[in-house]
Symmetry: C2
Subunit: 213 residues, 2 copies
DNA sequence: ATATGAATTAAACAAATGATTAATAAAAAA
DNA sequence: TTTTTTATTAATCATTTGTTTAATTCATAT
């Protein structure tokens, strides 16, 4: 029998088996590290310490297992993002600070995620299409507050998509370059994370300077 | 007999055969589109319209073919980058304008390159290690000019690695998000490129605002 | 024209891979 | 307990994949 769950650390009622989680956790780890094609079903079976046949028993195929993991990962990630963007109580500047902190923490916890997602997305943009949260970003309180600032003459006017793109760029891209940055600056993984943590304070200031008149 | 050449559009003396180029061009296109693992030798043979055995005849293995292509691609890309950074005649602000224009043009011409490189790099950082140009960026005229501006009190002081990272982030990252941006903004590929071309002018201004006191 | 080496081809090989099967063990329901 | 459903296992299948081989064609130099 095949069952569906959102993710291993989920609140929803779970009567799923233990091996099902073991498979998903191992598969997610391997997919993130090596990508879809380079990960074999035997890799997953070995890593999760289950019998190879169990993968097909629970998930029917490697492709389906991948799609479930991709969906859940995206959903979890985007949900957390939208959360900050839509907080009614915080100002734009507070949001910038909050999302820098939160996103950097999130990516430090799962540094392979951005490259993985953007890479797999390129071949199969449909996964993202299904995400309800995707389009919400441009209609978020965050964007509204920026546009409000433009109206009031506080901020320079520019298409909000540029604004949002810039914020995400300076937050996410450095992680995708981590191998390069670590190499040219001779940093350990720990050093690199310190550098990223520095950026939590720097990024909000940079963005404000970028948009302030 | 196996011969080595830098790239198909190279100046160096070429007595390489036609099929060798055909293989490399097809392989590069496929590797960029699907990644190393998802690309099969038969894919490459079909795309380049050569016999499967010719791949091993000229390049000995898929892995070696990939590494040659990766090296050449990186070399070409980084060379062009360093070129702008080290121009003695231009000011920092001019360099910002020039590199925005040049890099955006480069990536529009080969939009899959950044994601491909950063993704494959994650598994195999050695390819980048071999690049002589990598470390040069931090010792470039570009960085020196920024630090000079800091000394003169014109620019805010921050570790140059942050400065360089930010510039590259706002230039490159949007391309890596192109599927997402196109989706949430309902853009065609053409529209997206128009948006990227807009950024050629915007980015230098943003960066200056970011660093100027 | 002929001989020699390079280029090309079709066929095949061995290993890897996604998936299935049939038998067995464990758990749940009767 | 017995029966029935669910979970697990080892073995196997059919393709796919990277690579090689042996034969053949092509080009060039003698």
């Amino acid at each position: 029998m095949i069952k569906f769950i959102l993710c291993s650390n989920n609140i929803v009622d779970n009567n799923y088996s233990n091996t099902e989680i073991k498979i998903k956790d191992a598969a997610k780890s391997l997919f993130l590290k090596k990508g879809y094609s380079a990960t074999t079903t035997r890799d997953i079976a070995r890593e999760s310490d289950i019998n190879l046949a169990m993968l097909n028993y629970y998930f029917r195929s490697k492709r389906r297992l991948f799609e479930i993991i991709m969906f859940e990962t995206l959903y979890e990630f985007l949900s957390k993002m939208v959360e900050v963007y839509n907080d009614e109580k915080t100002s734009l500047e507070q949001k910038l600070k909050l999302c820098s902190e939160k996103y950097i923490d999130m990516i430090i916890a799962e540094p392979l995620l951005p490259t993985f997602v953007l890479n797999e997305l390129k071949n199969n943009p449909t996964s993202f299409l299904k995400m309800p949260t995707t389009k919400m970003i441009m209609k978020s309180n965050f964007v509204a507050q920026y546009q409000d600032g433009v109206k009031k003459g506080i901020y320079r006017k520019v298409d909000p998509i540029h604004f949002v793109t810039n914020v995400l760029s300076v937050i996410v891209f450095p992680f995708m370059c981590s191998p390069i940055i670590m190499k040219i600056e001779n940093l350990s993984k720990k050093d690199f994370n310190i550098m990223m943590n520095e950026r939590k304070k720097l990024i909000p200031a940079w963005i404000i300077q970028m948009i302030k008149k």
